[in-house]
């Protein structure tokens, strides 16, 4: 059993997702228990897989015992293990949150089992992308994750359906770009396995076909990651989709495409050792930097908390491509830490957003006055996540910034240091504006918060326990990932394989 963990990591959520309608039909009471125990079990397996990677190195699994060039291979290494662990954690925590959320949100989503099915499928896709050892399997899992994501976003109603349609169109065009890219690679080399490609490609790097495929892959994965200027789908989808879905989409799903960029850049195209790839990485760095600044500036301009979070996601997600583009071990460690840190932070913020929506009936920033009096624990979670977003110690966000700044200055990218620092300050502008409203300003007489204070549901002013528990797990995680970041960097992120393509 233990030897099959890599494939189990994909199979368990897949099996859960597909069996869920049957379970719900025959034993409706067991649905939630079934879902949560499966996700918890998967989380435990992810931890075991990570431990295996740390103690014994990368883990290869051949489906049907067919050797790689012919068969499908799953690989768990330091980076994919991290992504899998994050995805499994977020899936469990959000499942914990979602049930209470939907219970309170009576007017909202009705097709709940369908939601859980799509949600778990999305988790399957994310974990599959992380584990895939060949570029076509990667495509299949990307599409599993994306299609479920379109469906889940559309569950938020009429506006969400339109946002999801645009997301679908752009996402599918991105997928065709991706397919074209791997088609060109396949035409040049005759293989799809990443390990084999990394040996066959270097002599071919100068050819126009490979250059074109690099461009197509960058465009495809860049759109899915919401790299500026390919981010057009993101703000609407994040604003109108149902909260638990967006909490997973913004955290685990977006990360996995950055992770795919890392896999291609370093383990297929040879990283900074190849002049063409080095150029691509440089462009990636510029785009990421532009994304960081654009997202932060746009976030300041928003009046709605949901939209602000959406733009903040664009900014924060770009930290990962930035770390990948820099390409020193410290920067890659920063990118990997950002995968963990941003997932927990943004997940927590979206959960709080959902809570505000349920309790205060608004997500308008100006109407959050006095929230700390009504929802003290949620406000506390909000404060900690905001600090992590800004990058203040001892939260994990600070250590991300530290590693990235360190990496950028080691590699001689002084301007990136400036971008990172500026981004932290811009984040401070919009998050402290919210904290001021939540903690310091008193609700105006007859204002929104005061009004809804009167209409609070009988369940009590604070959110129900499972929702709070989910948020507080993430808050503890943010602090733990900050304090433990040194340990993580030394023991896990130091194993990230740059395949000789990094900057020393």
């Amino acid at each position: 059993m233990m030897a099959h963990i890599p494939v189990m990591l994909v199979l368990i959520p897949l099996l859960t997702a597909l069996a869920l309608p049957a379970v719900n039909w025959m034993m409706p009471r067991l649905t939630q228990i079934f879902l949560k125990s499966a996700l918890l079990f998967n989380l435990a397996l992810a931890v075991l897989a990570m431990r295996h990677v740390v103690t014994e190195g990368p883990w290869h699994y051949w489906l049907g015992n067919w050797a790689p060039p012919y068969g499908i291979e799953f690989v768990v290494d330091a980076m994919s293990g991290t992504v899998v662990l994050v995805a499994a954690t977020m899936a469990y925590v959000i499942a914990l949150y979602a049930r209470s959320f939907f219970r309170l949100d009576e007017a909202g989503l009705q097709a709940r089992t369908l939601f859980y099915v799509l949600f778990t499928l999305m988790a399957t896709g994310v974990i599959g992308v992380a584990l895939a050892g060949d570029i076509f399997t990667l495509y299949v899992f990307i599409e599993i994750a994306s299609i479920s994501a379109y469906g889940v976003v559309a569950m938020g109603g009429g506006r969400a359906a339109f946002a999801a349609f645009r997301y679908l169109i752009l996402g599918t065009v991105a997928a065709t770009f991706y397919l074209l890219g791997i088609g060109l690679i396949f035409a040049m080399t005759g293989t799809l396995n990443m390990a084999q490609l990394s040996e066959l490609l270097p002599p071919l790097m100068g050819s126009p076909a490979i250059l074109a495929s690099l461009c197509f892959l960058m465009l495809g994965l860049g759109t899915k990651t919401a790299l500026v200027p390919l981010h057009a789908w993101l703000p609407d989808a994040h604003t109108y989709g149902p909260t638990p879905a967006i909490a997973f989409l913004a955290t685990a799903l977006l990360k996995v495409f950055s992770y795919a960029i890392y896999r291609f850049m370093y383990q297929v195209f040879g990283g900074h050792a190849q002049p063409v790839t080095a150029m691509a990485l440089q462009i990636l760095g510029w785009l990421a930097a532009a994304g960081i600044l654009y997202g932060s500036v746009m976030a300041i301009a928003q009046k709605d908390f949901r939209r602000m979070l959406a733009y903040s996601t664009i900014a924060q997600i770009s930290y990962i491509p930035l770390g990948i583009a820099i390409g020193t071990p410290a920067a890659l460690a920063g990118a990997a830490l950002q995968v963990i840190s941003h997932s927990m932070t943004k997940g927590c913020l979206f959960m709080i957003k959902g809570g505000m929506h349920l309790k205060l009936h608004t997500t308008d920033i100006g109407a959050l006055r006095g929230m700390s009096a009504i929802m003290p624990l949620s406000s506390f979670a909000l404060a900690i996540s905001a600090f992590s977003m800004i990058g203040l110690p001892p939260t994990s966000g600070f250590f991300v910034k530290w590693q990235l700044v360190r990496g950028a200055s080691e590699a001689g990218f002084g301007w990136m240091v400036g971008v990172l620092v500026l981004s932290g300050l811009l984040n401070a502008v919009y998050f402290f504006r919210i904290l001021e409203n939540v903690y310091i300003r008193k609700p105006e007489q007859g204002g929104h918060a005061a009004e809804s204070h009167g209409n609070l549901p009988a369940a009590g002013p604070e959110l129900p326990l499972p929702m709070l528990a989910a948020m507080l797990i993430l808050v503890v995680g943010i602090l733990a990932a900050g304090i433990g970041s040194g340990w993580l960097t030394e023991n896990v992120f130091s194993l990230i394989d740059l395949a000789g393509g990094g900057i020393q």
Binding site: P393, K401, L425, E436, I440, S485, G486
Partner: protein, 499 residues
């Protein structure tokens, strides 16, 4: 065994104890007595832990512990040395007094949001301990930023527009400068490969002079803003909207002193006073602090509000410390380190008296305080004594530091600074003493006729203790915690380059 572990990790516990206290305070927010008990208890425990390390430091040893790895090759590193001990002992002792004062002050004014106040206060103290004991730049920076964060709720405590504006200003100054310091720290790790504080510094020869000067400038940004150096002082008077105990502890002890302490650490333990001369950074720094001293004193004279006046006085006095560090001779360093401590004791007394007066009058306009000295003799005696101390009168603690600074200025041959110090003393007399004079000799303002006596004893007790302490220290500079010896050991460390 457990005892040994505890003894070995005392610096860590000194930091953690008030974080724990903050959590307990938040947990018992509905029980004011229990909440304040936690504050006092944590303060006592902290004093116990800090002072238990004193004998070893006085023997010239250092205590260190590395509980955690922060980043490859960089640990969360605490090292207690003479300079850190000086700062930690000062902050922990004054926390206890401020806690007692706060209880009296907050209760008599029926302030809101007291739980958040006490919790943030405790967090501030943790951050201060962390800054005092930090053994490397990253650890220092982490606690430095924590201090910024923990202070913010205190600055905006009043929850009104003015407080919000002050809070924004405070964050703007400190966060921006903090980020610059972060870049500086990264550059230090990049050029020197390490960032552990060493007496006499470790940066010499690591890069060319212009690069070193740039790094120094970046590193200095954060501490200089916190210390209220002149072009960056705007937040400090604005932050005086906070309740008086906050101004007392934070703007006399924790925050601004953390800035000064940071400057001392950077000058003495990352760079070296001699290296600064070589790269041409010492003279501009000294000049800047000289200008700050005079200008701040001149501005102070124009402010009618007592707290504002004290704020500008603080800005001026803090630059003594920077000046001493920039001069870099033995006496100057001793004076600078001792001033860190002496100014803390005296300025906190002044703020305590301001707070005590405020609990009675609800007004701090100095024109309306005249005649009150006859009703509140103890309070105003304490005020007068410490005002003279700030000016540098013999028999008060301020004299010791100023004397050493004067010696230092003459040792280094820069007589101009000696003149500035003396002028500053005269200016201090001219803006602090008129308050005392009119209080004892002036006509009572008719609106203040209802004032019947001294403030309540919880507010009176701490300020009497600190003013008596200032007197004793002026006579025996080594009293209470061998602070003078600590300053001397630290200065020796910096100049000899070894612990």
């Amino acid at each position: 065994m457990t005892m040994d572990v505890f003894m070995g990790t005392r610096p860590l516990w000194a930091v953690l104890v008030s974080i724990l206290a903050a959590l307990l305070i938040l947990a018992s927010r509905n029980k004011p007595n229990l909440r304040e008990f936690w504050t006092i208890a944590a303060a006592l425990v902290k004093i116990g832990i800090v002072y238990s390390m004193l004998p070893a430091i006085l023997r010239g040893e250092t205590l260190s512990c590395r509980p955690l790895v922060l980043s490859p090759g960089i640990e969360l590193f605490f090292r207690v040395d003479a300079a850190g001990m000086l700062f930690a002992a000062l902050a922990s002792a004054l926390w206890l007094l401020t806690a007692i004062f706060s209880i009296g002050y907050m209760r008599s004014l029926h302030e809101e949001n007291q739980t958040g106040y006490y919790a943030s206060f405790a967090l501030c103290l943790s951050a201060t301990m962390g800054i005092a004991f930090a053994g490397n730049l990253l650890t220092f920076f982490i606690f430095f930023e924590m201090l910024t964060l923990a202070t913010y709720p205190l600055v905006v405590h009043e929850r009104n527009e003015e407080a919000l504006k002050a809070g924004r200003q405070y964050l703007t100054y400190t966060l921006i400068s903090g980020q610059l310091t972060l870049i500086g720290i990264v550059l230090v790790y990049l050029t020197a490969g390490q960032g552990d504080f060493m007496p006499g510094g470790f940066m010499s020869g690591m890069a060319d002079a212009p690069v070193l000067a740039l790094i120094f400038l970046l590193l200095l940004a954060g501490p200089a803003v916190k210390a209220g150096m002149m072009p960056f002082h705007g937040w400090l008077p604005a932050a005086m909207v906070a309740p008086t105990p906050v101004s007392a502890l934070l703007h006399a002890v924790a925050v601004v002193k953390a800035g000064c302490f940071g400057i001392l650490r950077i000058i003495g333990y990352v760079f070296d006073p001699k290296l600064l001369l070589e790269i041409g950074a010492a003279k501009p720094l000294a000049l800047l602090s000289g200008i700050t001293i005079v200008t701040a004193s001149l501005i102070a004279m124009t402010r009618p509000n007592l707290k504002q006046r004290l704020a500008y006085s603080t800005i001026g006095q803090l630059s003594y410390i920077v000046l001493g560090a920039a001069l870099g001779t033995s006496s100057a360093l001793i004076g600078s380190l001792y001033h860190l401590f002496a100014h803390g004791i005296m300025k906190i007394t002044l703020f305590f008296t301001a707070g005590a007066i405020y609990t009675k009058t609800h007004d701090l306009d100095i024109r309306r305080l005249s005649g009150l000295g006859r009703t509140m003799p103890l309070t105003f005696c304490a005020y007068t004594f410490c005002a003279l101390g700030i000016a540098g009168m013999p028999l008060a603690a301020g004299f010791i530091s100023k004397w050493n600074l004067l010696l230092g200025a003459s040792e280094s041959g820069q007589w101009g600074y000696a003149v500035i110090l003396i002028i500053s003393g005269l200016l201090a007399c001219s803006y602090l003493l008129p308050v005392a004079y009119s209080a004892f000799r002036g006509e009572r303002d008719p609106e203040m006729s209802h004032i019947d006596g001294e403030p309540n004893r919880w507010t009176l007790l701490p300020l009497l203790i600190t003013s008596i302490a200032a007197l004793i220290l002026g006579i025996y500079p080594d009293a209470f915690g061998h602070f003078y010896s600590l300053a001397r050991i630290a200065a020796d460390n910096i100049l000899t380059g070894t612990y």
